[in-house]
């Protein structure tokens, strides 16, 4: 990766941030409330238009391969066990055992205490061991984020110490909605610090906005800016535990913020829609939105991800349909 690929550390962000002085509630409010309002009707119409784009044959086959390479294969259940994480990992390494041409997913996404199990199951396939699959951990009292800062930071450093390459943190939606932007900002900055390893490298930070709880598109735009200003490498729509989870309009809006940030600073921020994307058709419309909004350069695992558990199965069934000419079924994909 070149310098331009690497998201700037928070200290660098301060050089380009659009307000003066420390990140107080007042300074952030002045900036975030000064952002132009979102044209909700226009946004939804644009998203609907992108969703109707017809992708056929060769393009569709390429899109399916791209989707697999962008998936954070996820299990976030209270009932997760080390065995379930191991089978998730084996599916991540070899999504379709009957078709070696299917590439690997970008990452596995697990709860904090499962990071060690995921790392050991990945073995040489783990990104840190020279492989191509990362381990993402959901931290900071996921999914509600209702814990003290000390607990959230301990949560994060636990995951990093256990070998997580990526940290998915949740913002404090209560603080955000009641206007305590400085608190949200400071928490993201603190978690980013906790992502740093002793050797100077750092785990990538994905900031979950939980757009389903933010009520308005204006809030989504403000939270996106806030998360980027505070140092997030990725902005992520949802935990998957709140309905609605990822929607195309919300993701489009976040992509637009990322595009604006790139135009202003030259830095590339990633986007991760998560939750509720279950079919290849849905996922393809997200790819179209990415390509049309920020450019095809973003269709790469270090700038765009799908947080999904069942999406992979549908993609595999679609690939089998293309290969055999007949519709496939859930009996023909591996279970986790």
């Amino acid at each position: 990766m070149t310098d331009t690929d690497t998201p700037a550390a928070p200290a660098d962000r301060a050089l380009v941030r659009p307000f003066d002085g420390p990140a107080t509630d007042a300074a952030l409010r002045r900036f975030l409330h000064g952002l132009p309002g979102v044209d909700a009707v226009g946004l939804e119409q644009r998203a609907a238009t992108l969703g109707t784009r017809s992708i056929k044959t060769a393009s569709k086959a390429a899109a399916l391969d791209t989707i697999v390479s962008l998936i954070d294969l996820t299990t976030l259940e209270g009932s997760d066990t080390p065995g379930r994480v191991r089978s998730l990992v084996s599916k991540a390494i070899s999504p379709d055992p009957g078709d070696p041409s299917v590439g690997r997913v970008a990452a596995v996404c697990v709860y904090n205490d499962m990071v060690g199990h995921a790392v050991s199951a990945l073995g040489r396939h783990h990104a840190a061991a020279g492989g191509d699959i990362a381990v993402a951990a959901v931290s900071t009292a996921f999914p509600s984020g209702r814990a003290s800062l000390a607990v959230k930071l301990q949560d994060t450093s636990d995951a990093v110490a256990a070998g997580a390459d990526e940290i998915d943190m949740v913002i404090d939606r209560g603080a955000f909605l009641s206007g305590r932007f400085g608190q949200v900002y400071d928490e993201i900055v603190a978690v980013e610090q906790a992502c740093r390893r002793p050797d100077g490298s750092h785990a990538h930070l994905k900031v979950i906005l939980e757009t389903g709880e933010l009520s308005t598109y204006d809030n989504v735009r403000r939270a996106s800016w806030l998360a980027i200003l505070a140092g997030g490498d990725f902005i992520k729509t949802s935990t998957g535990k709140v309905a609605p989870a990822a929607t195309l309009p919300v993701t489009l809006l976040m992509l637009e913020v990322v595009r604006d940030w790139h135009l202003a600073t030259g830095q590339r921020i990633g986007v991760k829609p998560a939750g509720g994307i279950r079919t290849s058709k849905d996922a393809i419309s997200y790819l179209v939105a990415v390509a049309e909004t920020v450019g095809e350069e973003w269709l790469s695992p270090h700038l765009f991800r799908f947080g999904a558990s069942s999406l992979l199965d549908d993609v595999l069934m679609q690939k089998q349909k293309i290969a055999t000419g007949r519709y496939s079924g859930p009996d023909y994909v591996s279970v986790v």
């Binding site: 089998q320 000419g325 007949r326 519709y327 496939s328 079924g329 859930p330």
Partner: protein, 286 residues
């Protein structure tokens, strides 16, 4: 002032809803004299695929219901058909050109047939399964279990009784159904779908497609998630190819030649869509 009649839009029945064909296509349905009756939806292979997804989703609940409960739900469908007698009679008269008397007889036979199959729900297993004699200190039991998703090409010349006679037996054991209705006479099938929608049968258990069996049936036959293929109404199609396609995905097939009298009631039709599960069980200590 003369009143302008409200023409009905016939659609498909998939997953408990009445969508238009994904393809947007319709075709004209005419009476024997060639006079336009209605437009019916012309299902595409994607509609068939969606119907299979809906049917697969419904297998767990329907096959998991008790046999007694399934019988009650099926009987309720007969009750709802009774309430639509006049509409069925009217559609058979206008569509097929039947006399009032023949149409009434056909509707009566259809409702009676449905009740006949409903009665088997909690009885057929006793005939098909049982305790196997073994020379050891354990029980050995064989029980029929449903095959899963059954794709059906309904009889083309008997749009109501023929439809009932293929759909009801598949439901008895707890299978779910995707049925391609008679292409030329699709209207009674869609009225029957309205009966299903207002009865107690869970959504997705029966899915009704109208359109060309020649176009849709190959996709259902080769579909890896279809467990049974009833070709009763496919006699005029190239059904050998359908059987070959079905064999490639381990699909059980009922050939047209095995089902010569499409409208005869038969317990064999129930048994055709079951698998025999044999289990052993230790005897308790005396």
């Amino acid at each position: 002032m003369t009143r302008l009649a409200v023409a009905k839009t016939y659609k498909l029945y998939i997953g408990g809803a009445f969508p238009r064909s994904e393809s947007g296509r319709t075709y004209a349905v005419a009476d024997p004299a060639g006079v336009f009756l209605a437009n019916a939806a012309q299902a595409s292979r994607k509609d068939a695929r969606n119907a299979v997804v809906a049917a697969r989703g419904a297998v767990g609940g329907w096959s998991g219901a008790t046999a007694y409960n399934r019988g009650q739900v099926l009987y309720r469908i007969a009750e709802m058909m009774e309430g639509r007698r006049a509409q069925f009679v009217d559609e058979l008269r206008s569509g097929l050109g039947l006399s009032e008397r023949d149409a009434v007889a056909d509707v009566d036979a259809s409702i009676d047939r449905w009740v006949w199959y409903a009665g088997w729900a909690d009885k057929y297993a006793q005939l098909v399964g049982g305790a196997n004699p073994v020379s050891g200190p354990y029980f050995n039991l064989s029980v029929p279990v449903p095959s899963g998703v059954i794709a059906i090409v309904a009889p083309q010349d008997s749009p109501l009784l023929g439809l009932v006679n293929v759909v009801a037996p598949a439901l008895v054991a707890g299978n779910t159904v995707v049925v391609i209705a008679s292409e030329r006479f699709p209207l009674p099938a869609m009225t029957f779908a309205e009966v299903l929608a207002t009865s107690d049968v869970p959504k997705g258990v029966v899915n009704v497609l109208t359109g060309s069996p020649a176009e849709i049936a190959p996709w259902l036959a080769s579909h890896a998630d279809v467990d049974g293929l009833d070709l009763t109404g496919a006699g005029s199609l190239d059904w050998v190819d359908l059987e070959i396609a079905a064999a490639d995905t381990l699909t059980r097939v009922l050939r047209p030649s095995q089902a010569e009298d499409a409208v005869a009631q038969s317990l064999e039709r129930v048994i055709a869509w079951t698998e025999i599960k044999t289990v052993w069980h230790t005897q308790s200590l005396r």
